[in-house]
Amino acid sequence: MKVGPRPAGVAEVALRLMARRGEGGGWTTLLLQPTDDTAVAAEDLADEMESLDGIEVERISGASDAPALVERLAGSPRPAVVTGLDEWPASEWGHLDLLRSRLARNERTALVVKEATYERILRDAPNLESWLSASVWTYQVDAALLTEEEREHRLAALRIWSGLSDEQVIARAQARALPADPEFAEWLVLLHRGDLL
């Protein structure tokens, strides 16, 4: 039985982090699996954070070492999303742990790293890790997506409403004879036929 940090989408992680207003800022960590796209996850998270508060979010990527990361974070008065640290060796995390006093900032910081990197943080930067506290999440890339059940539910409701079948809707769309209701745009997307829009 594997127990790990709870899964969450970027919208939820952003909501929780941006709700922390006031002194001291605060940290959150988003853990990615080896196959997850770090750049996309980080950019989506930064976008969500910006949309919640209307404040521009600093994107800090690929700091070469601990002093460089400290300098970039200290130099920004804005909330920040930090990525590009997965190649750091254990010793560099240890180094960051030693320099952690310089990381104190009055704004919110999100760390986006692979799960293996977080293991290194736990082991080699235990003081820094104690700052991260409970706000550690496993990235759920499809958190906001309709489940198959939800998709089918919506399609069923559309079929009842219109009296049409999926095939009829596609045929009419191909013949450019669909009624001009927004429901039909929704229908085509649900059928993965956005090409007919």
Binding site: E12, P179, A180, P182, E183, L191
Partner: protein, 145 residues
């Protein structure tokens, strides 16, 4: 409504049709065609509830292109017991298809009836959300003539 519940109601679906483009559906709650109030929706403090659907086209590196939307606000029966008002108000943006119906208005509203249309300005999704969340409040007492 709890922030968690708000998040849970927000969903999306995508239909990629090329490497650089996606059509995306963004859903706020579930469409309630019979307006029973039994489907997932967003609830206001006055008891009115709303849902919305957006269809957009996403091109990599460019702003989203709005294809269609529908935003519907429903008033519960008990709110309407003392004030006579429409059961619902709905704002639609039809998809940009060829339409033979001379009555059709791409951007319109339905003031309480699915077959009654009136022109409406094209609004951004956030403007519409703002309107549905904070506006369109039924008065506590009817206006006197």
């Amino acid at each position: 409504m709890k922030p968690h519940d708000v998040l849970r109601q927000l969903k999306q679906a995508s239909s990629p049709f090329s490497e650089a483009s996606d059509c995306v559906g963004i859903y706020g709650g579930e469409k309630d065609f019979k307006r029973t109030g039994n489907r997932p929706h967003f609830v206001r403090h006055d008891g009115a509830w709303f849902t919305f659907t957006l269809t957009v086209r996403a091109h990599r590196g460019q702003p989203l292109e709005l294809i269609a939307y529908d935003f519907e606000l429903c008033y519960p029966h008990d709110l309407l017991s003392s004030i006579h008002g429409p059961r619902f108000i709905r704002f639609d943006l039809n998809p940009p298809w060829h339409d033979n119906d001379p009555r059709a208005l791409r951007c319109h509203m339905h003031p309480g009836h699915d077959d009654l249309l009136a022109p409406a300005p094209l609004m951004s999704p956030l403007e519409l959300l703002d309107l549905l969340v904070t506006g369109l409040r039924l008065p506590e007492e009817p206006r006197r003539a």
